[in-house]
Amino acid sequence: AQSVTQLDSHVSVSEGTPVLLRCNYSSSYSPSLFWYVQHPNKGLQLLLKYTSAATLVKGINGFEAEFKKSETSFHLTKPSAHMSDAAEYFCVVNPGTYKYIFGTGTRLKVLA
């Protein structure tokens, strides 16, 4: 069975420090993986996606994620947090069907 685990429900960082949001997945197939961001009272916006090309994926707003098959991980990073990064982040896996499997989300707080 396919699943996604976001290891932290809340993460707090100071402005200007690195961000790490962790995601582990379980999939029987070669999956596609996505990170989305949701600002308050808004829909989800795609940050980046992995679809079996380069394992280091660059996204919008300075975010990156690295696909590590041996660790079944797809952690999201950013070198320097900005106040505008405060939002909820979702890791999503698709094993190759119509079904997108969502993690339960990580709420990022950025402290001034």
Binding site: N41, G43, L46, Y100
Partner: protein
């Protein structure tokens, strides 16, 4: 600019009412989805459609139905609204194939009193 729009941002309905939530996409996508989002539970799939008049149940279809009469429009129907259907409802669309990302609407926050 690609767009998914939802008919209402906020909706308040009474228990037992029939509720229609509409979603329109302008990207000619085959797939359309309805999710509900609740704190701590992430997004849960209610229904999915891969073509006009075609639909598949998701993880939590009970109490809901859907309609897709045109490719660009996907409606979610609560036949008899109940308080446990108070939630944020998100519509999404995508091309066919799991490698494609979904595009989301802004959401409808439904309160059933």
């Amino acid at each position: 600019d690609v767009k998914v729009t939802q008919s209402s941002r906020y909706l308040v309905k009474r228990t037992g009412e029939k509720v229609f939530l509409e979603c329109v996409q302008d990207m000619d996508h085959e797939n359309m989805f309805w999710y509900r989002q609740d704190p701590g539970l992430g997004l849960r799939l209610i229904y999915f459609s891969y073509d006009v008049k075609m639909k598949e149940k998701g993880d939590i279809p009970e109490g809901y139905s859907v309609s897709r009469e045109k490719k660009e429009r996907f409606s979610l129907i609560l036949e008899s609204a109940s308080t446990n259907q108070t939630s944020m409802y998100l519509c999404a669309s995508s091309l066919i194939g799991g490698a494609y990302e979904q595009y989301f609407g802004p959401g409808t926050r439904l309160t059933v009193t």
